[in-house]
Amino acid sequence: MSPLSPLNGNIKENIAELEDLSERYFLEAEEMIRGEIRKAGDIALNLILIAASLKGSSSFESRIAIDIFREAVSKRVGEYIQKEVKISPYPDVAFCIALEPELKLKLSDDTFFEKEGLRFRVKWREVLPSIKSKKRKFTDFYIEKGFVYLDEREAIELYLDRLSEKARELVESYSKLDIKHHRIEGLAQALTKLSDTRTERIVGLQGKQAPLKEEHFPPCIKLCISGMGSGARNYAISVLLTAFLSYARIAPSSNTKDARISDFIDDIAVVRNEIIPIIEAAAERCSPPLFEDQPMERQNVYYHLGFGLTSNPTLEDAQKSSWYFVPNCDKIRREAPSLCRPEKLCRNVKNPLTYYIRKRFQEGGKNAP
């Protein structure tokens, strides 16, 4: 059986066949998940992806499986890129061929680019997986006449982004199959165990509910609080400030899209006494004052908190609309450019909430006994 069969053929038959052939693929996959080895063969890697698919393609387990996969193939990709400096349609990494036959990574043929160390080039659309995963921006690349010119490190990263994207697609396709196999389920459990450990670490890092500390707010939130002019005030108050304050106070470590405020608090007083007064004061400082000018916006604030259109919410209302998450910095910069005045710490964060959590964490570190 070819090592690539699990990718191409009938998964269920292949798994059975695999089991007959050898136990070692499963053992290799288990060791990989436990972090005991850093390299694994194509079949073991596929088993990990198949196991992740049992938990759903957007699960934390799937993200971890793709990270494991990425790390495992990174060395091979690096070796391939270094070796294949000539244009070659057939990379010698079998798994890469199977996953990514179409990445047209070509040597750039212009001495200027070679001088700059930009030895590879691809059509600009080929970098979309890196853009989609938010790892890179178009502005990070040297683009000319429809081609993106890359140095060796960028070429490797791009290749890995493409492979990760393909691996994600594979997990998604596997998740549509009804795979029942005790060894695969065992691997899935191992992924869940690893995911639990990482989640605990993240929650520990992000902290739990605590009163708001304005001195730790990012510059965009401080601007919202200082009041805005008529162009940006609706977005500043009803969208950004409302989402930021509520998540920062109530659920700083929440990463679920369908969260409800009532999942995190038992008393609406937290909203009424700690969040709304800051929003009211900020709205008052707008020019003209937002709620005087547009009284409906007050209800809109509650709408964005998930209570539906109301002026007097109760916790029972907490599922009447969506609790809007804090928009990412990229989105703020585009939709309300005047709100984004980044400072040093902003350079390393993608969301205002992360800024707040990091500041709070740094403060906690400093004050630690």
């Binding site: 600009w124 502005t139 000319e144 005045r341």
Partner: protein, 314 residues
């Protein structure tokens, strides 16, 4: 020229006597059946949505009989446009509105436009289309005068299926909405950013200071050294700027340039893959101008080429 609202009688005159279905460009007629159409009949917004036309005659009949205050069609192509479902692809669109430009050399009040700021909007449109052509190698680019600004509509195969996020990233590049890394001043994007800075800096005035929260002293200092700074920038260097400004001020100024760049294009239009745009050839009744497809942008003059007959006769 007084850009005043068209009366119902003037709308009637336009659609009965001047407008023809042939005003609709090819890229619209070819995809007529795949687009959603929307109409505003009284100036309160496009409340008649989910419209679809099977033939050009049907569309023509509707325009002439309803004489809409404003008429729109989707940038998206659908399998079932009447339900806005079965999204297939969408044009890539950039919306530059002269009335919303964050810096203008004219004395227009916010929301107003004149020949000067229309020309400045046009220059910005040209710089975006140059970037799309030279950097991204896109070729199928159309321009439409929208009434108070311009739409850039891109039809190249490579862009039609871009997601909202990918469009946003592309916009960041072409608009100059990212401050280049300091250590990476070489490369096409930093060059582009510098070019935009060269255009923007001369427009820095006391008004800009107020709008963008730049302290007076900083602006005055910048204005004093502006010729040197611009000469430096022409040579792809930020040396003079760094010399006259403290590091903090220098970075803050780059942020301001980014902010101005970002304000030049309406990002919401670009990222919305189901957006509706004014139909080329239709009347922008609020200002009594024709939303006009532009063949040669450099020679296009909206105050000559997009004025309906009834305005000439006013």
């Amino acid at each position: 020229m007084l850009l005043r609202e068209a009366t119902p009688e003037e709308r009637r005159l336009y659609y009965f006597e001047e407008w023809k279905a042939s005003y609709l460009p090819d890229y619209m007629t070819k995809s007529l059946t795949m687009r959603e159409f929307a109409f505003d009949y009284n100036g309160e917004g496009p409340k008649d949505r989910y419209r679809n036309f099977v033939t050009l005659t049907q569309f023509e009949g509707h325009m002439v009989s309803s004489q809409p205050y404003a008429a729109y069609s989707s940038v998206a192509f659908y399998r079932e446009p009447q339900k806005r479902s079965g999204w297939l692809s969408a044009e890539l669109v950039f919306d530059i509105d002269a009335k919303d430009l964050p810096v203008r050399s004219c004395k227009c009040r916010k929301g107003d436009v004149c020949e000067v700021c229309m020309e400045e909007a046009k220059e910005f449109v040209l710089s975006i289309s140059d970037t799309l052509r030279d950097i991204f190698s896109l070729k199928d680019i159309k321009f439409v005068y929208s009434g108070r600004g311009y739409h850039i509509r891109v039809f190249d195969e490579e862009v039609l299926t871009l997601s909202s996020q990918e469009r946003a990233e592309l916009l960041d590049y072409v608009a100059g909405n990212v401050v280049p890394e300091r250590e990476n001043l070489k490369g096409r994007y930093p060059e582009l950013f510098i070019k935009k800075a060269i255009k923007i800096l001369p427009l820095f005035t006391a008004d800009v200071r107020k709008e963008f929260d730049q302290p007076t002293i900083r602006v005055h200092r910048l204005l004093k050294y502006l010729p040197d700074v611009l000469e430096d920038l022409e040579n792809d260097s930020f040396r003079k700027l760094r010399e006259i400004l403290s590091n903090k001020t220098y970075l803050s100024l780059l942020e301001t340039i980014r902010e101005v760049n970002a304000g030049m294009v309406d990002a919401r239009v670009t990222v919305d893959v189901k957006r509706i745009l004014r139909i080329p050839g239709s009347l922008h009744s609020k200002v009594s101008m024709i939303c006009t497809p532009v063949k040669n942008l450099e020679s296009f003059d909206p105050f000559r080429d997009a004025v309906p007959k009834f305005v000439m006769e006013r």
